[in-house]
Amino acid sequence: MIKKIITIIYLLFFSLLLSGCWDYTSLDEITIVSGMAIDQSEDKKGYHVSLEIFDTTESNKEKIKTAIIESNGITLFDAIRNAKKKITNKLYFANIAVIIVSEQVAKEKNIGEIIDWYLRDAEHRETLSFVISKEKTAKDLLNTKSSTNNAIGLLIKEIVTEDQTVTISVIHNEAYKIYNILNQKKESLVLPAFRVTTNNNEKAVEADGLAIFKNGKLIDFIDDDKSKYILFANNKVKGGILTIKKDNNIDNISLEITNSKTKTSFTYKNNQLKFFINIKTNVIVGEYGINDEIPYKQITKLEKIAANKLNKEVTEIIKYVQEKYNSDIFGFSTIIYRKDPKLWKKLKKDWDKIFKNIEVEVKSEVKIINTSYIK
């Protein structure tokens, strides 16, 4: 009997203690952040952040509503905490999809600082995407409207992650990969650039080429049409369209890429580095331009034209980056380090000078595997 009573007392005691959770936060006590834009504050000393949050003030079954909160702070974390001064709930960052950095911040501050803050916090996920705004402020991107997705943060994330298989114009790097690139030898970072356009008389975001970094700082943007070939050089292509011309002066044939592989190797002879880039691409003829059957002989010709175009464009873009930016966005330094660490030790000191003078030979092979439904 006494045992029973003691057991019951114990049970009551534990039910009091164990029913609660110290770190309990219910859904109505948090404000979920979907995107964030980082700008410089007006006095140029700190940050001005704009946070896109899910607006849960009224339940709406059809559409998700979002709102924007702005705040200032000396450091990033400070700025985010300052946002609490304006809202009721604590901001919750585990669902954030994208951070937009303004051109000004990216040029003046090392992007590594933002990454460091981001990866340090336990709430954040390492799979977040970073993009650079081409507009005056990063907040402009959040202020746009989209016809498909109401949260701009989630929209940008979708655009960026699916780009490599559909449109091949940007290189998508997640936060943890950015950390690795920034800390890996002399490799330079590239991030997607975004701008605001008008779509059906409303402001809309659009992916627009790449932002080129050097030593963690933004130096310039590369346009849409050229950035495609950077993806080819970096082995990032998984799909997308390659346009070529046959006889006319305008591109009128579209080849849809089914898969593509780029292998990079190098030789070092007589103090001269030479890189070989071998691109192997399989394509489908998706648009032939002329309303006619494609003759069998034409296939090999088309393959040759496409390969030549790839060769020319990739060589050109590499030369362009070497001369204009001198920034190793193709990861040549990492390739040397991985294959020949002793050679890398020798080259490390004057890598900036060496990178400029690397000879690059591009060899591409395009294979047409079918012509879709029509002969």
């Binding site: 110290w22 770190d23 336990a122 996920r125 390492e126 799979t127 943890y176 990969k177 950390y179 690795n180 920034l182 800390n183 890996q184 380090y337 991985r338 294959k339 020949d340 660490p341």
Partner: protein, 358 residues
């Protein structure tokens, strides 16, 4: 007191859980990053002679605990000193594991909860486990082993899309000296910690071959650690593995299968709770067995609660901050030499000499 007997499979399972221990979230000596698998293999080779010595001690005196053997061999005073040292090591190790657990929980999930609460909940369960006895611990270890292996395989399969094996190049980029130092760290933390299993030797059934038990336990544990290294480095890449405190945890955070199967890092925490419980329970039993011989008590179970409280207190005062905790790991490998290597070797040599005389 009836004698507790556990089968060799159960001992192997608990040895695996013991070795895997903190590495579930800490990763395995991440300083060397892409070369840490080499260090692990060297450490596995280095540990074999030592575990053969451990097994030989058990073989020479079957059915006796380590402390009993020490008492038999070394006389009253010397044996007491050695037993005290052994108890200290067991308690300290238990406190270390508890502290890792609480710090990890504090950083990753329970930000506002006081540390002592986290430690207490863990300790209560550990006390329950070790009070239930060695037989229960054995059966529990089998379950734990199955779960952690299953979860490891699961996380590896799910991480395949994230893996990049180029991260392992260049191989052998570190000096031999660095690699040997790192392999010595792995050797003492976690491999040589299985010296504590000597204190359970009386529960090994007579039919079992101790050599086989220890070898199997160590090799399987080593394979487990190897797959942890391969998973972490191939997913995270060298710079991040080097700077992360809990690389295994981060590596599983990145898993994303079709936007549907995400955020399964909780599995890693489950792993750590299970394995941490087993490890602390073993430490607790080893320490209380030591106390029973020190004070000539009959049952080791009465000492478990007081010792658990001591371990709890030790865990709270051990470090000022997490940085200290991680700075201690390289020092630990030197600090543990007397407990892991010198004492067993002395016992072994004396045992061999006495055995020859008889």
């Amino acid at each position: 007191m009836p004698k507790e007997i556990i089968s060799s499979r159960q001992i192997i399972a608990s040895i695996i859980a013991f070795i895997v221990g903190n590495s579930v979230i800490l990763g395995v000596n991440s300083e060397l990053a892409q070369d840490s698998w080499i260090a692990l293999i060297i450490a596995t080779i280095l540990i074999i002679p030592l575990i053969l010595i451990y097994a030989r001690i058990i073989k020479l005196y079957p059915g006796k605990d380590f402390c009993q053997i020490v008492e038999l061999l070394l006389g009253k005073i010397l044996s007491k000193i050695i037993i005290i040292l052994f108890i200290w090591y067991a308690m300290h190790l238990g406190a270390l594991v508890l502290k890792f657990f609480s710090e990890f929980t504090k950083i990753s999930a329970l930000f506002n909860t006081p540390e002592i609460i986290i430690l207490m909940t863990m300790t209560i369960v550990t006390v329950y486990l070790s009070k239930s006895g060695i037989e229960v611990l054995g059966r529990w270890s089998i379950i734990v082993c199955t779960i952690i292996c299953f979860l490891l395989i699961l996380t590896i399969i799910f991480s395949i899309p994230n893996m990049d094996f180029n991260n392992f190049f260049p191989i052998m980029n570190h000096d031999l000296k660095e690699i040997l130092k790192s392999s010595f760290d792995i050797f003492s933390f976690p491999f040589a910690e299985i010296v504590l299993f000597l204190s359970m030797a009386s529960s090994y059934s007579q039919k079992n071959n101790p050599y086989k038990i220890y070898l199997y336990g160590c090799l399987l544990g080593s394979i487990f650690l190897l797959s942890v290294i391969i998973r972490n480095v191939s997913i995270l890449g060298v710079p991040l593995v080097k700077s992360e405190y809990f690389p295994s945890y981060t590596a599983t955070r990145l898993i994303n299968i079709g936007d549907f199967l995400t955020r399964i890092e909780g599995t890693i925490t489950i792993n750590f709770i299970f394995v941490g419980l087993t490890k602390t329970a073993v430490c607790l039993i080893a320490a209380s067995k030591g106390f029973t011989f020190l004070f000539n008590l009959k049952d080791y179970k009465i000492m478990i609660i007081p010792i658990s409280l001591l371990i709890l207190m030790l865990a709270t005062i051990m470090y000022n901050n997490v940085i200290e905790m991680f700075e201690f790991i390289p020092i630990y490998s030197i600090y543990a030499i007397p407990f892991q290597i010198i004492i067993p070797i002395i016992v072994w040599i004396v045992a061999e000499i006495k055995n020859k005389k008889e």
